[in-house]
């Protein structure tokens, strides 16, 4: 049994972490936002050239063909520095959708660009408040043309390609490729920081169907797989913010001693540590399920996601708390993780969606 990342992935992680720590030091996201940049384009180009986006995409389409364990590690490290790159939208969602459900020609057309980072993709599912059950999808495709309105669409302002969930003439849900030229997008003000979202209106643009994506279950499959990668991002972010909280409280003195020596602080951060360890272990199971395309994938995904979101939300909220007034400013990066935790908690479906999915898939032998 080996319930850890492989040695190859562990070695690669060191390189990845070194680069990201250098490129995204504390305060980097704030400087980017202050400069009005929608995302960190130089970093995006650099990691594209290094092959990160295509790491788990097939070699025939410009990828490296490694298994998803490697992609999980990249997700964790990107989450750790809260990098401002559309990695999740473009890779876990858009590229995965095409790799899973696309024709040879669709793959040939889009995957090399997504793998290099020249093309930014995203997934357009939500249509306003409430969650995307199948009933929630109103966007419609008639004679190869799509109409409808999607929001929020993360990275929607910079995306070149949209994978859109919409209904066909029979009312069946499918996934469609729509290019940016045919859409109208407006920026949305969100709680996020360093990641943007748009409202996207589709007005009779050409919609190219991913033929193998049949019905709502295709959406569920895509979300299950993405949930594991999002979980790794959350675990990375949670661990980073816990380290910040431990360092800050150790250096901060009050009442004549380091506040980290106080049990009120220690116990709070010990609980955060426990939540992160549980989340990490569940994420590992998810990584295993993803890499082996295991039948347990749905339950592994829901478990990994629920644990990771809980850990990230509690870690980021408690980090602000132990930083005191400083935590409540934009001077330190606590707020970025606090915001990101909530975006990750909702982006591919809220807690309720995943709890229900988990309960519905519990093995009959449980209980």
């Amino acid at each position: 049994m080996n319930f850890e990342f492989s040695d190859d992935v562990t070695v690669m992680r060191e390189e990845v972490r070194r680069l990201l720590t250098e490129r995204v030091p504390p305060g980097a996201v704030r400087r980017l936002v202050d400069a009005g940049q929608p995302f960190d384009r130089p970093l995006w180009q650099e990691i594209g050239a290094l092959g990160w986006m295509g790491i788990s995409l097939p070699e025939a389409f410009g990828g490296s063909g490694l298994d998803h364990e490697t992609l999980c590690m990249l997700a964790e490290e990107i989450g750790r520095v809260a990098a401002s790159v559309p990695f999740s939208s473009s890779i876990y969602l858009a590229a995965e959708a095409i790799a899973l459900f696309g024709s040879e020609e669709q793959k040939r057309t889009w995957l090399p660009g997504l793998a290099s980072g020249e093309v930014v993709g995203t997934f357009a599912l939500a249509e306003g408040n409430g969650f995307s059950t199948a009933e929630h999808v109103r966007a419609a495709v008639l004679n190869g043309r799509i109409t409808g309105r999607k929001l929020p669409v993360w990275d929607g302002l910079v995306a070149d390609l949209f994978v859109v969930a919409a209904r066909d003439a029979d009312g069946d849900i499918g996934l469609y490729l729509v290019t940016a030229q045919s859409v109208i997008r407006t920026p949305l003000e969100t709680i996020e920081y360093g990641r943007e979202a748009a409202a996207v209106v589709f007005e009779n643009g050409i919609a190219d169907r991913l033929l193998a994506a049949k019905g709502w279950s295709a959406v569920e499959k895509l979300l299950d797989r993405a949930a594991i990668l999002f979980a790794f991002e959350a675990v990375g972010g949670a661990e980073a913010i816990l380290t910040m909280a431990v360092d800050y409280t150790t250096q901060r003195f009050a009442f004549g001693r380091s506040i980290a020596s106080m049990q009120a602080i220690k116990h709070m951060l010990a609980d955060v540590y426990v939540a992160i360890e549980l989340a990490r272990s569940n994420a590992y199971y998810g990584a295993w399920a993803l890499a082996h395309d295991a039948p347990e994938l749905t339950i592994a995904a829901a478990t990994a996601r629920l644990a990771a979101i809980a850990a990230y939300e509690t870690a980021s909220a408690q980090a602000i708390q132990v930083h005191g007034g400083m935590g409540f400013t934009q001077e330190v990066d606590c707020h970025i993780h606090y915001r990101r935790a909530k975006r990750l908690a909702t982006e591919i479906g809220p807690r309720r969606y995943w709890s229900d999915r988990l309960i519905a898939h519990l093995p009959a032998t449980a209980g």
Partner: protein, 409 residues
């Protein structure tokens, strides 16, 4: 990542199954609700099964062969425990002996001490208890007050121990007592092996919240221990205790339940307003949360086992197991009763579902958050040893034991 055994592990697993199949029935259904009584009859069954295992080389799997062990790996111990858990085996009474006292004697004792105590413990003939906690020394164990005074070749012990599991069955006890009050508290302790049949020992069973009596008070009056039964040097008692406690965390591990599968079974079988409880949104959300924690612990154990399997020593992070499982067991017991409504308080197993498991657990589970390291001590351990946060300043640091303030002065 993979879950496959190595070829050696797979062959050991197959061997254990052949042995277990020959001796025990498989558990009926998903789970048997555990019987919580520990009477003399259960002790006998437990001892007999231990002897069978020892004779076949399946007790003390990672003990050295010279002491009756198998000379195997810790991974093999884990594999055997995983397999044994599938069968209806008697309640295990040997955590304190095989899991804790003997490994401590092997580390700190003379070879003749290990020689004398190892086999009878391994074969289940000798049950052991741990004489550490006192009425005024729980989390602050090093503050214990039981005195050991030297008298020629003997030590004279006076004091009281408490929360001693299995003292009423035990043939031997691992005792820590104070041999010097003029030095700092950690430096004045010494460990002894106590024959529980020595005159001057009185064992009284304590009636727990649950109505069971698994642990005891032990009164020690003019109890004489030969110096040859001292373990390690005079003043080394604290180091010996730490070895024992580290083994305790390894031996005790998880709380006993209810586990999330029990919770799911209850929620699938009972109804709220005409629908199975598991269809209730609140129940779903809570059960999902407990499931996620239980799975997280399960896979954390697999990470620990990976470390063991690769020859590394798992760190103090293993303490999250008890911290999480004890708390969630208490929460689930409480919620299970809530789900049953007004009848939830009925403890009669003829009426309460699942042999009144949730009601019993409601009364039993608070203890698990205290024994073997309280929730609060475990959080301190995580904060200080895993996260590297500084220790709380201590009012008694470096002070001679005799000067330390107590509620009495």
């Amino acid at each position: 990542m993979d879950f496959a055994d190595t070829p050696e592990e797979a062959s050991f697993r197959a061997e254990t199954r052949v042995f277990l199949d020959a001796h025990l029935p498989l558990k009926q259904g998903a789970r048997g609700y555990r019987n919580r009584t520990h009477d003399a009859e259960h002790a006998k069954a437990s001892q007999a099964w231990q002897a069978t295992k020892a004779a076949a080389g399946f007790a003390g799997i990672h003990w050295p062969r010279e002491y009756g062990g198998r000379g195997g790996s810790q991974m093999e111990s884990i594999i055997f425990a995983q397999e044994e858990a599938r069968y209806d085996a008697p309640y295990y009474l040997f955590n304190q002996s095989v899991g804790m006292a003997l490994p401590t004697i092997m580390k700190w004792g003379r070879p003749d001490q290990t020689e004398k105590f190892a086999r009878p413990a391994l074969y289940g003939d000798d049950i052991w208890c741990q004489l550490f906690s006192e009425p005024a020394a729980g989390s602050d164990l090093a503050g214990l007050r039981t005195r050991a005074v030297r008298d020629g070749d003997e030590w004279v012990i006076d004091g009281q121990k408490i929360w001693t599991s299995n003292a009423h069955f035990a043939r031997f006890g691992m005792l820590v007592a104070r041999t010097d009050v003029s030095v700092a508290k950690h430096d004045g302790l010494t460990a002894f092996i106590l024959d529980m049949e020595t005159p001057g020992i009185e064992v009284r069973r304590i009636r727990q919240v649950s109505g069971n009596s698994n642990f005891c008070e032990v009164f020690l009056s003019d109890v004489r221990i030969p110096d040859s039964d001292r373990l390690a040097g005079v003043g080394q008692g604290w180091k010996v205790s730490l070895t024992m406690l580290a083994n305790e965390r390894f031996a005790v591990g998880q709380a006993e339940g209810p586990d999330v599968e029990d919770m799911i079974e209850l929620a699938r079988t009972i109804e709220i307003d005409g629908k199975p409880a598991i269809d209730d949104p609140e129940a779903r959300a809570r059960i999902a949360d407990w499931w996620v924690k239980a799975q997280g612990l399960k896979f954390t154990r697999l990470r620990t086992q990976t470390a063991l399997s690769r020859g590394r020593t798992p760190g103090p992070e293993a303490s999250i197991g008890k911290l999480v499982s004890a708390t969630t067991a208490q929460q689930m017991a409480s919620y299970g009763i809530d789900l049953l409504g007004q009848a939830g308080t009925i403890l009669d197993p003829a009426i309460a579902p699942m042999n009144a498991w949730f009601q019993q657990a409601y009364l039993y589970s608070p203890g698990k958050r205290i024994s073997g390291g309280t929730d609060e001590i475990l959080r301190n351990i995580i904060a200080e040893r895993v996260l590297g946060m500084p220790a709380e300043p201590r009012a008694d640091k470096g002070m001679p034991f005799s000067q330390i303030p107590t509620s009495a002065r």
